[in-house]
Amino acid sequence: MRKIAIFLFALTAACAGVKDAPPAVKSHAEPVVATPSAVAVAPSPAAPLPPTSKDEAAKAESVVGAAPPPSKNESVKPVPSPAKVPAKASTAAVATEPPPKSEKPPAAAKAQEPPLDVAALTARLRDTKAIGTFTKLALKNQVDDLLKQFRAHYASGRKASIDSLRQPYNMLILKVLSLLQDSDPTLARTIAASREAIWSILADPEKFNSLT
């Protein structure tokens, strides 16, 4: 009885494993079909792929040539065979829109977040789970102290020595980075990238006053 149960369990497990296989095979098959057309239709403008032979070059030209507006030779344009219509239509659609141009920049933009301002920095530090409550409070104290120094500097009317606050600012940024670099590297990178942007806000009296 137990052997039958084990056999049935093994059989069920095997069947469950087989169910997953077809999508994997499909997903392997699809890019193989799609890749050549994508390469032929939409080469990047910076580095166009050189055609290997004259026939291929002619094919590539004809496919790319389907995209531009029919300005002069519309009557001469050959009528595509019914079998080729869907493929050409899809390639033409791909050729009209600029997917490689529009897809790559968002990926790069995701990697490099826009620089933070002071409010965003405070919010991000408040939300991160990489540092504990005591640390957050101590950090807030130190940020408040630094802002107080800036406020005192601008209230005193001195103009020359704003650079004297650069060192405490850098020290605080370094402390924050050392706290975050292991447990929240994304935020650490964003803060490191925003260092100059935040300084430019703090060092400008008008921006600083609008901030506080």
């Binding site: 504990g132 005591f134 640390t135 409070l137 101590a138 104290n141 402390k175």
Partner: protein, 84 residues
Amino acid sequence: MNARTWASALIFPLAALFGGSSPAAEDVTLLKDLTSVIMLLGLPCGQVVSAKRQADNDHIATCKSGHRYRVFVNPEGRVVAQKQ
């Protein structure tokens, strides 16, 4: 009831009992937090190896270097590390 049934009857309640976040994990978080605070305040410590709770937001932290600090939040809302 065979041995397997007994085992499963024991395992499930025990798992339910100890399934939550362990005090050890909370301790590690607190030690890390205290280490960070002491570092942030620029005091020598290295790493906090043990902490004894005095009250809410008030701990005695013992460092690897042998230093001991009372880390607490004062009435002004500032985190203070006082050498013991």
